[in-house]
């Protein structure tokens, strides 16, 4: 939430624009922020003027991003060795020779580059009498790491004005205009780099079918159309997007009874307008990598979000009793829309020629789409505190959303606080500076779910229209499964914690126990075939998250010149499904004919489900003599563990293989300063989660695709008996390439998030304060997972399914901050 406006991300903000950032997690404090806050809320305040004297701030850096942790792939010789082993028993297969192929290409190295990044923020703020102001602008430029025209630029303009009109009225205005442009790279080229055999070079003058550039083609060497030259894929991709985002908020506050009754009305809006254009020139590389005609597609779109809030607050006190009563109402309106047009045979001389009108008159297409939803809330909050020592907050909300069939939900919450350190009996505990006991409980409705999806819609368009006599005859179809009546997803949250500070605030921190039970959890779940739908949105059950959260900060002055600080935060997560609606389990994440996750009561949501690998058969005879029956057996094949002891491997031998949810997430901050120098180090990590290495499981389609080097080095072969890796031959079998604990890997990692060394100078002539620094962001990540990154997202029941092939980046920068 940026200055009162809900946004989906803060990509449009520059870090220099931010004054303050607060995280609210417990039900009672988040309650007031309503239906978007059920999973917590991050409040961001942009800068505003405070001092009489205008202050000018400059904050800027230059830097480079380096691609890191690129998964090493097999070389030509290694690939040939593997592919020959894989096909040792394929009828009609003629072993290949490395010398028949012209190159050993590392496609990733051909695609990446170090990329520049820079940001500059300049702002001025101050206050004069009844007016406070802040105006700023920033410029951000970032190249992408793909070695092709591929960048992002953003100009921000920000202004904030607060004006006290008179004793009664105060008004304010805050606006941020962000204008951006980007050249979008073809991320698919990285996928190409992952799967393409390393056997051929980038260019080949003898590939006579290729034009306008003589790229080499995998089809020259007999590879199927699923492969295409990755560098060519990047080269012929010409997409760009530009847009404007405006975040605008304004309010008027009326002090109806001074210090007693305040009425505030505010209007907040977030407006996005964007244009995208994708152009493909006429080209051919080989196989199906090419187009007969150039083509152009243009999309104009917008997304708007508006919130109107009305709040009345009455506050009063009597002696040490302080109380307030607030009533409010909020209206939300969100809309998105786009219009796309396309044409072929569009000349590509320059940007000026890339218009639909310059293209062929036939084959022009148009399509559009939109979404809309509305929400309405009424809420009230009462607070009471006695001498700021005993605190009580009661909130009650009535929220309505057009996304739910059950329109209205009712959500009470309660917060309690006791500042124990203010009690007389605590006086003898001199070392204890502060101690507060907190407790909260509440229900919060969440409407951050797909809009209007639990309704049967008419299926229109070409896909629902028959052809008769070479004409398209308009049709309207529909699913034939009963849609669920969607009720509010409700988070039932209990939180108890202690805030404390010791030894003159040298050591401070908090510890919390949290219990979050999400009832009627909403997501798309796969359903049995027959209703014309693969999945259905519904209230699927209840999921519990509980654990301990600990934050500790130690700040210590060693001498007059030096201080150090140590920060530690640890959160444990105990995730499990406590209830499922109408079924025993929900399968998720279909990979190669099997659902690879299972959501079941008593287990974490979306747990991996499959076979446990018992061992790898060492020899043909061992496999043959083994009484256990399984679909494929042989030297170098997995022997799956027979869980039920019936000597037959089938569906009933599948077990839970771990969860994509970590048990523990945490971070450490270390800081040290000596005179004008300081150094800071931040570490971050997680432990206990699993990742399904799904990108390794694509050998049904990419059977002769490249292998990662780890597989080359560790595979089973007659010369190198492995106990946990299959042979190259077995690796291609769907029986091996299914969810099992070879593909379900440990996702734990520790990352150096940031290292910064700074030097502060005071009173340097006309610059009162100056800080210069060098920093490294994400310079190193420690993990064992055999992928590009251990950070894998997903949806509730198919999380941690890794198909990503995009390299991570480290960022090294030099920067300066100054204020006048």
């Amino acid at each position: 939430m940026v200055d009162g406006v809900f946004v989906d991300n803060i990509d449009f903000l520059s870090s220099g624009d931010i004054e303050d950032l607060t995280v609210l997690k417990d039900a009672s404090s988040a309650a007031i922020y309503g239906v978007r806050a059920a999973n917590g809320v991050i409040l961001i305040t942009t800068k505003k003027g405070t001092s009489e004297k205008p202050v000018i701030n400059y904050d800027g850096y230059f830097g480079y991003q380096l691609p890191v942790n690129i998964l090493p792939m097999a070389t030509r010789e290694q690939y040939i060795e593997l592919v020959n082993e894989a096909n040792i028993n394929s009828p009609g297969y003629v072993p290949r020779e490395a010398s028949d192929y012209p190159a050993s290409t590392d496609w990733y190295q051909e695609l990446v580059r170090p990329a520049a990044i820079t940001n500059h923020t300049l702002d001025i703020s101050g206050s004069a009498g009844k007016t406070s102001y802040s105006i700023g602008s920033s410029y951000f430029f970032q190249q992408g790491i793909m070695d092709i025209k591929n960048d992002f630029n953003r100009y921000n303009f920000r202004g904030r004005l607060d004006q006290t009109v008179n004793k009664t009225v105060k008004i304010g205005l805050n606006s941020l205009l962000s204008k951006y442009g980007k050249h979008i790279p073809n991320d698919g080229a990285f996928f190409g780099a992952y799967v393409n055999p390393p056997l051929y070079s980038i260019y080949d003058e003898n590939n006579t079918v290729a034009y306008p550039v003589r790229f080499a083609s995998p089809q020259q060497y007999g590879f199927g159309n699923q492969y295409g030259n990755p560098v060519a894929a990047a080269y012929y991709y010409d997409n760009l997007e530009n847009g404007i985002q405006m975040v605008f908020s304004t309010y008027a506050e009326f002090n109806l009874i001074p210090d007693k009754l305040v009425y505030k009305i505010s209007y907040n809006t977030d407006l996005n307008y964007y244009n995208r254009r994708s152009y493909t020139p006429q080209f051919h590389v080989g196989g199906s990598q090419g187009v007969l005609k150039s083509s152009l597609s243009k999309t104009s779109g917008n997304a708007t979000r508006q919130i109107i809030d009305n709040l009345v607050t009455w506050s009063g006190s009597s002696g040490k009793n302080n109380f307030s009563l607030m009533a409010g109402q909020s209206t939300r309106i969100e809309k998105t829309g786009f219009l796309t047009g396309s044409a072929v045979d569009v000349p590509g001389f320059d940007e000026q020629s890339k218009y639909i009108v310059t293209g062929s008159f036939s084959d022009r297409n148009a399509t559009d789409g939109a979404s809309a939803f509305n929400g309405l809330s009424l809420f009230t909050r009462a607070t009471y505190n006695y001498s700021d020592k005993y605190l009580l907050t009661l909130t009650f909300r009535a929220d309505a959303s057009s996304k739910y069939q059950q329109k209205w939900g009712y959500f009470p919450s309660l917060g309690l606080g006791w500042v124990i350190s203010d009690e007389l009996f605590m006086e003898k505990w001199e070392k204890l500076d502060f101690l507060k006991l907190r407790g909260s409980w509440g229900l919060l409705g969440n409407d951050n779910v797909p809009a209007n999806s639990a309704v049967t819609l008419g299926q229109t368009g070409a896909g629902s229209s028959a052809i008769f006599g070479d004409r398209l005859v308009t049709g309207v179809g529909a699913q034939t499964v009963v849609q669920n009546y969607l009720e509010w997803e409700v988070v039932n949250e209990f939180d108890a914690g202690l805030d404390f500070a010791l030894f003159d605030y040298t050591l401070s921190g908090n510890v919390d126990y949290y219990y979050r039970l999400t009832n009627n959890v909403v997501f798309f779940a796969p359903i049995a075939t027959g209703g014309g739908a693969a999945e259905l949105l519904g209230n699927n059950g209840s999921v519990l998250n509980q654990g301990i959260e600990l934050n500790l900060t130690l700040k210590k002055k060693i001498s007059d010149f030096s201080t150090y600080n140590i920060g530690l935060n640890v959160t444990t997560i105990g995730n499990k499904v406590t209830k499922l609606q109408g079924r025993d389990y929900i399968p998720g994440a279909l990979v190669r004919g099997n659902y690879t996750t299972r959501t079941q009561v008593g287990e974490p949501i979306g747990s991996f489900y499959g076979f446990e690998v018992d061992r790898v058969y060492e020899s043909q005879s061992e496999a043959f003599l083994d009484p256990q029956s399984q679909a494929v057996k042989g030297a170098g094949f997995f022997r799956y563990k027979d869980q039920n002891g019936d000597e037959v491997i089938n569906e009933s031998d599948k077990v839970f293989l771990g969860s994509p949810v970590p048990w523990l997430i945490g971070g450490i901050d270390l800081g040290f300063s000596y005179r004008n120098f300081d150094i800071n180090l931040a570490l971050q990590g997680q432990y206990g989660n699993k990742i399904l290495n799904a990108k390794r499981m694509n050998r049904d389609v990419f059977v002769d695709g490249n292998y990662d080097k780890d597989f080359y080095e560790n595979r089973w072969s007659p010369e190198r008996i492995s106990s946990d890796y299959p042979s190259a031959e077995a690796y291609n079998f769907s029986f091996i390439q299914q969810s099992n604990d070879f593909f379900v890997e440990n996702g734990s990692y520790i990352r150096i998030q940031n290292v910064q060394i700074g030097y502060n100078i005071k009173d340097l002539g006309f610059i009162p304060t100056l800080r210069i620094y060098i920093s490294a962001q994400r310079p190193y990540t420690f993990f064992t997972y055999r992928g590009f990154t251990p950070e894998v997202g997903g949806s509730p029941i198919s999380s941690g399914i890794d198909n990503s092939v995009y390299p991570m980046q480290s960022i090294y920068t030099v920067g300066a901050k100054m204020s006048f």
Binding site: S90, P91, G224, N225, F254, L256, Y263, I265, S288, V291, S295, Q329, G337, S342, D363, N365, D368, A370, S371, G375, S401, N452, T456, L457, G458, Q459, G463, S465, A466, F468, G469, D470, L472, V473, T474, G475, V476, G477, A478, Q479, T480, V481, V482, N484, P526, T529, G530, G531, G582, G593, N594, S629, A631, N650, E651, D700, V703, D704, S734, F735
Partner: protein
């Protein structure tokens, strides 16, 4: 000032009172599913058209289809390169398992047709009730009959593939779908026959040219004859095929090659054909199916003459043609690399495979899609008149003596097919001769594998390919489907 503030508050609350409309908004850019205007006769076709559109599903009639129905047979090899697409290789050599993705695609795709047909079937009575005009009411019943035929067709393929599948004939909840049990083969055939029996009297004998591709009375009769053929109910086969023959509406084209040409689409030889067309466009929404494309010459140039190269004619099929001294049918069925077609296209020597399916051959002049549009305008021939004649002949040879409207002998029927193929007439044709004729006539048209199963010849003929009796007569219930519906039980031989 105080008053103004309160007025604002009051206004804000008043503005929210019309909240039922505010909160009850329909999704943008959509139409309601029910809530079609049932009083307008021009809307009758909407759900029916959508049901037909599902026939173009990739799973039902493209890659997985050619795999399960033809590559499994002795007529075809997997094709492409040896290592390409292991799941298809598993179909070719009978090593497939319940998790084979192509088998799951088939299940999903045919049930999708069932769902589309169910929707249309249930929408028609709503039109019938709302439309006063008797001829409109008749149209709704005819349209419902088309949808029932589609449902029967989908269930016929499901039954041949899986033997035991759930019967879904109405809108169910996801819980109900997840707990359906399987009907056995005879229950399924009863269900299929009931749909077709109800449809036949309501369907028209023909349509005008602009409706080419719609299901006629004879489509349903032909399908029903085939359903009886698979149950060895020979009398019914003769009666139905006899009626089709006697109608005089169908006949064999003179030239075998024309049957598979673009001009030969929806010809008098065609009883059921899945329509695929680019509608003359080169980009945009997909109105075609990649049935021909996946079988097109692999690695050929120019790009419009290039496909994936799957389902290549086997040496066994080529030898079979040679041994029979055939010339006409192999010239069309087999598309050799290093040759030039009579239509003028080169199948270049750089192609990956020596020979391709010539019945899906589509000349370059039709392949204008941007990019690789081989055969996007090629319709899929599901049921041809020669199949009708051969079913008739087979049933007669098997000893059916009942009178029928056509009144042909087995020899009469089979010789019509042979004559067009440039072969000498048979006299006193044997069952084996009829079955061989089927193979030669319908090669690579997704008939052969289940023909071998229904005549119990698969174990003999396909043992060399890895076929195992007691297992491969049916495909496994897909693993994913069992994971979605715990009440489904696996077929014999698949654990």
């Amino acid at each position: 000032m105080k008053k103004k503030g309160f007025i604002l508050i009051v206004l804000a609350f008043v503005s929210t009172t019309g909240c039922e409309d505010f909160l009850d908004i329909r999704p943008e850019a959509t139409v309601p599913s029910s809530g079609l205007d049932y009083t307008k006769s021009e809307n009758i076709m909407l759900p029916v058209s959508a049901a037909y559109a599902k026939l173009r599903n990739y799973g039902a009639h493209a890659f997985p289809y050619i795999g399960a129905f033809e590559i499994t047979s002795d007529n075809a090899d997997k094709g492409s390169t040896p290592e390409d697409n292991p799941p298809m290789g598993e179909l070719d050599n009978f090593t497939y398992e319940p998790a084979n993705g192509l088998i799951n695609d088939l299940w999903i795709a045919y049930f999708d047709i069932v769902s589309g047909a169910n929707h249309a079937i249930h929408q028609m009575p709503l039109f019938e009730a709302a439309l006063p005009n008797a001829s409109d009411k008749l149209t709704t019943r005819q349209c419902q009959a088309e949808a029932k035929t589609l449902r029967a067709y989908a269930y016929f393929n499901l039954t041949r593939l899986f033997g035991r599948v759930p019967i879904v004939d109405t809108t169910l909840s996801s819980e109900e779908l997840a707990s359906l049990g399987q009907a056995n083969t005879s229950q399924l055939y009863d269900f299929i026959e009931k749909d077709l029996a109800e449809a036949i009297p309501l369907l028209p004998a023909s349509y005008t040219r602009e409706w080419a591709g719609r299901i006629t009375r004879y489509t349903a009769m032909g399908l029903k004859a085939k359903v009886h053929l698979y149950q060895q109910e020979w009398d019914s086969v003769v009666t139905l095929t006899g009626r089709i023959i006697a109608s005089g509406r169908y006949g064999l084209l003179q030239n075998f090659r024309d049957v598979f040409s673009i001009d030969g689409e929806n010809s008098r030889e065609s009883l059921f054909e899945i329509q695929s067309s680019t509608l003359g466009r080169s980009t945009g929404d997909q109105t075609f199916i990649e049935y021909a494309y996946v079988q097109g010459p692999r690695g050929n140039n120019p790009p419009g003459m290039q496909g994936w190269g799957f389902c290549t004619p086997s040496q066994d099929l080529i030898s079979f043609f040679t041994a029979r001294g055939e010339e006409v049918r192999p010239a069309t069925t087999l598309l050799y690399r290093g040759t030039k077609t009579p239509e003028g296209d080169s199948i270049q020597t750089i192609c990956s495979n020596p020979v391709y399916n010539g019945k899906v051959y589509t000349p370059l002049i039709y392949n204008k899609w941007n990019f690789n549009g081989y055969g996007f305008d090629h319709n899929i021939r599901i049921l041809r008149y020669s199949d009708i004649l051969l079913m008739y002949a087979e049933a007669r040879v098997r000893g059916v003596v009942v009178q029928d409207e056509a009144g042909l002998s087995a020899d009469d029927a089979v010789n019509l097919v042979r004559q067009r193929a440039g072969l000498t007439p048979l006299s006193g044709a044997t069952l084996q001769q009829i079955l061989d004729e089927r193979r030669a006539e319908l090669a690579l048209e997704e008939d052969r594998f289940f023909d071998l199963i229904r005549t119990a010849r698969a174990a003999n003929v396909l043992s060399g390919k890895g076929f195992m009796s007691g297992r491969n007569e049916l495909f496994p219930i897909p693993a994913a489907q069992i994971q979605l519906n715990g009440n489904l039980t696996q077929n014999q031989g698949y654990n």
